[in-house]
Symmetry: C2
Subunit: 107 residues, 2 copies
């Protein structure tokens, strides 16, 4: 395979990764909703620790544990903000009676 062909493969892998990231975001949103209804905190260090343990355990390389951890630090950060923003949107919606802030801030 030449460079152009490898890059085509990378673009395809990236497409799949974006899909998985969005599936993960949807799951995080669902968890955010469940957390809100049970007044659970958004930031749960134990759960985040487990996520890192999971990704390191399934990693078979060539990426190192550190590489994989660094990617997931970014992913978790973004997912946490997604849950936070939803809570803010939800609070605003409640305050405004559901008219002015009817749109999800993540749309």
């Amino acid at each position: 395979m030449d460079i152009a062909e490898w890059r085509k493969k990378i673009d395809e892998l990236d497409r799949k990764m974006v899909e998985l990231l969005n599936e993960r975001a949807k799951a995080a949103q669902e968890i955010g909703r469940l957390k809100r209804s049970t007044a659970m905190p958004i930031y749960e260090p134990d759960r985040e620790k487990k996520i890192f343990e999971n990704v390191k355990a399934v990693n078979q390389g060539p990426l190192s544990s550190l590489d994989v951890t660094q990617v997931f630090e970014r992913i978790i950060d973004i997912m946490r903000n997604l849950q936070k923003n939803e809570i803010v949107a939800d609070e605003k919606q409640k305050l405004s009676g559901g008219t002015e802030f009817d749109v999800d801030v993540n749309e």
Copy 2:
């Protein structure tokens, strides 16, 4: 689905993502080898721009373009280091006659 079930789903998505990341790393290593043999530079801003365009184009949300871009900034950074480290390992191997540095630094 309750929180535990959503988390199981997330762990499974993460497992798939780690797999794709490693497949991407292998492809980046192959490109690194091809770059070395043709003396091409590791850092290619035009190619990186195209990667960002690709991931933004295929993104269907709920993640924003910015979210996706931030994840891929981290991924590209790691892949670039992977290619750089391989070149360093390769140079060292040449200098030492292939004995002392026979091991890939990314292992």
